[in-house]
């Protein structure tokens, strides 16, 4: 069980063990091939980061086009067909190519083995395969988008999606392939958590980020196959017309929605649970406190993962679903809300008697708290069945899911990027610019989506190319906010790129954090640990003065 005994086996990493200086993973092998064929989880994580950011840019451009088009009630910069395709592609790119892999595949990949004291994930080659499956699917989907693009909305509801003349098949099949990438990553992480924990790391000493990624992976493994099947059925239906969901042949379009949301509702938690995990790390690290109610937060991750599976019908209150089933889904939705509330209270509780250092990641934590509370509460409001009747498919829903799914996740993504930037690249960024851009992004995000809440209240349906003139003022406000948001991202791109090349050397642990991932070098060497593997006698984020420390038996 000692690390030396396992390193002794020859062959897997022929050259590296001879080095005595243990180069960090960034410079250990500089050829293109050493990157493209690497099985190192850190390099794979970085490659994911590159692609995910690229697709975020693509999705962001689509978003700006949508906002520009909606500046005026009539046609502004594009025709209706282009607009319909644009919002569909915005949704598909952002969800399947950005949000779902964003935190798990980038930071999960990078941090999970480090936090577990492991040398790599359980199946390193599958990990690389997952990257290439993702890219393969993305290329197919992009090819479909350039060759016509589909106009169904990302929900591709039957029977519209099975009959539209736009290019449905390649895009949906691309999404199907990306699903495999998601499944492979999920399996890999679950097995890693089960089998690769270093001695001393018991289940309830795992960092909360690991708990969150674990819960996310469970969802990925259990839900993704269902959407995979559905994507294939819709593609087949679109090409051959078997009539599975065709109302003319006794098919039930509502059944399609059941199957669709069985994946797509848990998918929301695939996007947001890792964000919760990141924030648990950051709030503990920057207030130098153990997490208040560690077990409650860990269990609530699993609770959200489980109950979240059975709340899907709240997307279908007005779809013709039965009233009784609507009520059932309503209650379960409330339970998801309770789990989220537990987390929020515990994060705030963590600060109690802490020592808060208001750095950029903590600024994002504040934004995150705001978006989670309001995104979550509007979600609860939408779940109270009768309120959903006027709100369903209006801009209120759009604003709600951008708050919780995008707001919270983007906050966590940026926070993670800043918090772990020294870990990943060994350099630091400019703190002042960091705070300025954080403020801009939080402000811009609110300015974009608060008007959309009001638009929804006022009755503007989503996916509208033209709209009655009474909605214009709020739409202009939203577009203005979106510009601010975009500007914030440009600043981040500038100073982080600068820091990547010219930033100050960070040292091993610039935040003086006691998260497990900081026990190794920054950036870490190829197999994460040099010499004897660190031991883990303390729980993560244990900041008690060693002189006074009685190892607590609580928690």
């Amino acid at each position: 069980m000692t690390p030396s005994s396992s390193i002794a086996s020859p062959g897997a990493a022929p050259a590296h063990d001879e080095h005595h200086d243990h180069p960090n993973y960034l410079v250990d092998g500089t050829t293109i091939k050493s990157w493209l064929l690497t099985v190192d989880h850190k390099r794979i994580g970085l490659m994911f980061l590159f692609w995910v950011l690229l697709f975020f840019l693509v999705g962001g451009i689509f978003a700006m086009l949508i906002r520009l088009e909606l500046l005026t009630p009539g046609p502004t910069i594009m025709d209706a067909m282009t607009y319909n395709r644009t919002f569909t592609l915005h949704g598909l790119v952002m969800i399947f190519l950005f949000m779902i892999p964003a935190i798990p595949a980038v930071f999960g990949n990078f941090m999970l083995p480090l936090m577990l004291g492991a040398k790599d994930v359980a199946f390193p080659r599958l990990n690389l395969l997952s990257l290439y499956i993702y890219l393969g699917g993305a290329m197919l989907a992009l090819w479909g988008m350039l060759n016509g693009g589909l106009d169904t909305g990302w929900t591709f509801y039957a029977p519209y999606s099975t009959h539209t003349t736009t290019t449905v098949a390649p895009v949906l099949f691309g999404a199907f392939i990306i699903g495999f990438s998601s499944i492979v990553t999920g399996i890999n992480f679950i097995v890693t958590v089960h089998t690769m924990r270093a001695p001393g790391i018991t289940w309830f000493k795992m960092p909360l980020f690991v708990w969150a990624i674990y819960a996310t992976s469970c969802i990925q493994v259990l839900a993704t196959p269902v959407i995979g099947l559905l994507l294939v059925l819709v593609t087949v239906e679109n090409l051959f017309g078997f009539g599975m969901f065709d109302p003319a042949r006794g098919g039930d379009p509502v059944l399609f929605q059941h199957l669709f949301w069985f994946y797509s509702h848990p998918a929301v938690y695939i996007m947001v649970l890792p964000a919760f995990g990141v924030m648990s790390e950051i709030v503990a690290s920057f207030s130098r406190k153990n997490i208040f109610g560690y077990r409650a937060v860990a269990y609530s991750s699993l609770g959200i993962a489980f109950v979240g599976f059975f709340a899907w019908g709240h997307h279908m209150f007005v779809s013709g679903q039965s009233t009784f089933v609507g009520g059932l889904f309503g209650v379960l939705t409330m339970l998801v809300g309770v789990f989220t509330a537990i987390k929020v209270f515990n994060w705030v509780g963590t600060v109690y008697k802490g020592a808060v250092d208001f750095k950029t990641p903590f600024a994002y934590f504040c934004g995150f708290l705001f978006f989670t509370v309001f995104g979550g509460m509007t979600g609860i409001a939408l779940g109270t069945v009768s309120l959903d009747v006027p709100w369903h498919d209006t801009y209120f829903v759009v604003a709600h899911f951008h708050f919780i799914m995008v707001g919270a996740t983007i906050m966590a993504f940026l926070a993670a990027l800043h918090y772990w930037f020294p870990k990943m690249f060994g350099r630091t960024y400019h703190e002042g610019w960091g705070l300025v851009s954080a403020a801009l992004i939080i402000l811009g995000f609110n300015a974009t989506f608060i008007p959309q809440f009001l638009l929804g209240n006022n009755g503007m349906p989503r996916r509208y190319y033209e709209y009655p003139e009474r909605f214009q003022a709020l739409n202009v406000a939203s577009t203005a906010g979106a510009s601010l948001l975009a500007f914030g991202f440009v600043i981040i791109a500038c100073y982080l790129t600068y820091a990547l090349f010219y930033g100050r050397a960070a040292g091993k642990n610039p935040w003086r954090s006691k998260g497990y991932e900081w026990l190794t070098e920054s950036p870490p060497p190829t197999h994460n640990f040099v010499g004897p593997q660190p031991t883990y006698p303390e729980e993560p984020h244990f900041y008690v003065d060693p002189k006074k420390a009685e190892v607590p038996d609580a928690v």
């Binding site: 209706a80 067909m81 509801y157 029977p159 519209y160 539209t164 109302p247 003319a248 207030s287 130098r288 208040f292 109610g293 409650a296 013709g320 009233t323 009520g327 309503g330 409330m334 309770v338 509330a341 209270f345 515990n346 509780g349 600060v351 109690y352 008697k353 020592a355 808060v356 250092d357 504040c366 708290l369 705001f370 509370v373 509460m377 409001a381 779940g383 109270t384 069945v385 009768s386 309120l387 009747v389 006027p390 369903h392 498919d393 209006t394 009001l454 209240n457 006022n458 009755g459 349906p461 989503r462 996916r463 190319y465 033209e466 709020l474 003086r512 008690v544 003065d545 060693p546 607590p552």
Partner: protein, 348 residues
Amino acid sequence: MSELLNNILFLPEAASTFAERVDMLHHFVVGTTMVMSAGVGLAALFMFFRYRRRLPAQATEYVVPTLKTEFLFVSVPLVFFLAWFGIGFRDFTWVTTPPKDAMDVYVMGKQWMWKFAYPEGPNGVNVLHVPANRPVRLLITSRDVLHSFYVPAFRIKQDALPGRYTQIWFEATKPGTYQVLCTEYCGLSHSKMLAEVVVLPQEEYDVWIKDQRRGRLQDRQDALADTSLVPPVARMVEQGQVLAGSEGCLKCHSVDGSKHIGPTFLGMFDRVEKLDDGQDIRVDEAYITQSMMDPGAHLVAGYQNVMPTYQGKLQGPETAAIVEYIKSLRTPNVREGASEGPAYDAIQ
């Protein structure tokens, strides 16, 4: 107070009984959310300041919540959420369960327009007239893809499913004109699929509908254009039976299988008949309709050409109703025939 809140929240005018209920819950939810979020937010801000870092590597106390705190964290939100849900679900059940005395209107979504039909006529496109202070049940269907019928002022919304019906009801409280929007993405001109609900006081409504029904008789063309909006079969069969009596069909055609001046209606539909010119014909809607309009075109062997034409005497929907009635008289061993009920169209 509620007026002010509605303005702050940009809520449109509330013009139905359901809207009042929804707004009440809305205010309750928004109010509690704001108060509690402000509480949490202020507590957080206070602590960020109070517990700011004083030393770079400051040590802190090890704090864990007591069981009581944890219980509070779970129970307070749970109680509120369940209370909201209780109210919300009560209202939802209310709006999906139409009262018995509700007036029926058939609504059909079609790319990209709304058609409305009253059981006894008239039919209309994109404008729905309803009386104020009377429950109206909407039976919503679609001819092509999913649509969703949304009236912001009434706070109601219901998806239209192709080839089947969904229902929702409302009782408008204020006369006026309210916008109808489609909220389920349905293709190119989804955003242009707008319509209006005109709420009239009961007396004006009565006058309006009387005018419409009279006018409709004169304007056959319009009626023909709207036959695509067929009420459900059962209702049509009833109408057909009444019409068959009042228009004199039953003087020559029996419904019990006995032979009279004309062939019996019983089991007629979908039967293969021998014509007087020796050909076979399957009795379908087309043939029945043709026989009403031009009775001599294809005579069944053994009958005289004595039937008067009903061309111009019957409206399109009336013809359809009689056809439905004849279809309902099929003998059980005849196979289930071609479709009726809510029709379903191709999307091109």
